[in-house]
Symmetry: D2
Subunit: 181 residues, 4 copies
Amino acid sequence: MASRGVNKVILVGNLGNDPEIRYMPSGGAVANITVATSESWRDKNTGEQREKTEWHRVALFGKVAEVAGEYLRKGSQVYIEGQLQTRKWQDQNGQERYTTEVVVQGFNGTMQMLGGRQGGGQGMPMGGQQQQGNWGQPQQPAAQQNNFAPQQQAAPQQAPAQQPQQQYNEPPMDFDDDIPF
Amino acid sequence: MASRGVNKVILVGNLGNDPEIRYMPSGGAVANITVATSESWRDKNTGEQREKTEWHRVALFGKVAEVAGEYLRKGSQVYIEGQLQTRKWQDQNGQERYTTEVVVQGFNGTMQMLGGRQGGGQGMPMGGQQQQGNWGQPQQPAAQQNNFAPQQQAAPQQAPAQQPQQQYNEPPMDFDDDIPF
Amino acid sequence: MASRGVNKVILVGNLGNDPEIRYMPSGGAVANITVATSESWRDKNTGEQREKTEWHRVALFGKVAEVAGEYLRKGSQVYIEGQLQTRKWQDQNGQERYTTEVVVQGFNGTMQMLGGRQGGGQGMPMGGQQQQGNWGQPQQPAAQQNNFAPQQQAAPQQAPAQQPQQQYNEPPMDFDDDIPF
Amino acid sequence: MASRGVNKVILVGNLGNDPEIRYMPSGGAVANITVATSESWRDKNTGEQREKTEWHRVALFGKVAEVAGEYLRKGSQVYIEGQLQTRKWQDQNGQERYTTEVVVQGFNGTMQMLGGRQGGGQGMPMGGQQQQGNWGQPQQPAAQQNNFAPQQQAAPQQAPAQQPQQQYNEPPMDFDDDIPF
DNA sequence: TTTT
DNA sequence: TTTT
């Protein structure tokens, strides 16, 4: 829990796809999302308007992953606070590759749904039928890979001696997907 | 310059090596540094103290790159504020690879040297002979490695005409100022 | 523009009232908003749900103030990045008082409208009639105090030698309003 | 613990005075420090260099307050991450006054000592005799000013049972670690 | 792949 | 005074 140094990422952007939820053998949820941030500026040579979108891999763990799986959808706007983490893996040729992600886990991060009336009524963001933002209806976290009930680790954040960052050595994570990174 | 979304990284850590400085055809400086942040925690199973160091690639552009090249050294402690940026490149086998960096450029970021009484004396961080932290003596930004344009110009947000970040040349703070409360 | 030290505030919250816009003699706009952030938790003694709202004074300057005046309304959700600033003033009894605000000015800060389809279509956040979030229709910045045309300082941020922080010594700012601070 | 909204302050600056430590009836420590951040710029009218220092009230709670009391001294450079909080009080004339502070408490904030090789040797920041930065010798947190409960307990988010922030007792970083890229 |  |  101690730390020398600061490692903090803050993002506000929109999801490029629905979250992908997986469960670790321990039952803890992992949600992977991609978040777009973009900036636009006027090219000072050509004078034309230009835009550049940056895509961020974000991995959420535990309770916040469950919330993401239930309420976030493609297009949802989110505030993300997490840490940068680079992990090494082997591609199909046995070559070492590195992937950098924003990790949101326990007290080292947070996720906030933005826009719409998130977190509304009966535990669903919209509180009703009419969709205001791009939020999902609360779902059974069912359409997932493997699925032992995520053993409600609702408040693990207070746990006195939590073990950070042991992620990513459990599910394979399919990094050969055709996602652009 | 407009932007929808927020893309912000904040790091406090130490350099793993001396900065590598290059110059673009335009004359603009680029500094590459690696910054370590670490956290330690007590393993709740074994009870032993564990530590994990995360290494961050950071690319600085323009004036702030020159300052980095002059004053930062292996071990220097820095505050970095920048943006996440992932760029695509081809490895020797023609395979697409991705590298994620923290980009510090113009008004989208800042770098602050920490420790010692930076901003001291004659434009060098320490103000004197005795080395307090791990800061370099001001150098000619001459010993540049090589000089091909870096494969990436990072975000073109404010291009050549930028001129921020000439910090580090102010008098030391007087801590006997009357604090207004 | 240089700085020793970091002074940064990040808020995501909702406006408690419509923005108040004023113009300085120089023509620069100033927008004052109050932003609510809240947290809720379960009281570990009584077991009941509790909530606490924190109200923040935010002062925006220049272009971002104009945008705030045009598009933000009571209830609007915003992302604010600015600096902490405490200024001294005299109350009606001649007593020294201090007020702390989050100042958003030039490159030292940013404001992003959240939720809805902000910044949409023709320069208005919603792009149409149907109100999705709590955003104002684009207005003439007319109903303001004094009103020499704000001399479009649209890109003063690039200005080579801008003069920071001289605010608050121009308009009186009416700090005896019945706002709770 | 839940929250709608983000309320975050990040400071890097120097202490204007030694910390003031107090203990609450519960035994929890409270440290009050004032942190200076400053910026300087060239006045675009007169052409002269100008500087402005901003002073921040910071209140630390719990373990981090104890660390502050032991190791921080006037002039110490710190990284602070906390929340903005405004509290109401009555002055000697019975008038309502407001004071805004940066509150560092539990998981909602952190404090890092900067400069020197903090986290070194035997649990003290410098690891030895020779003072590199402006750090105090570890003290008994005994010389407390006075001992009435501070008028404010700040947000009760995680109350007594908190236990984060026991940093600063790790071995120094080895910068010859193999950087993974 | 998002959003505007 | 907001929002949920």
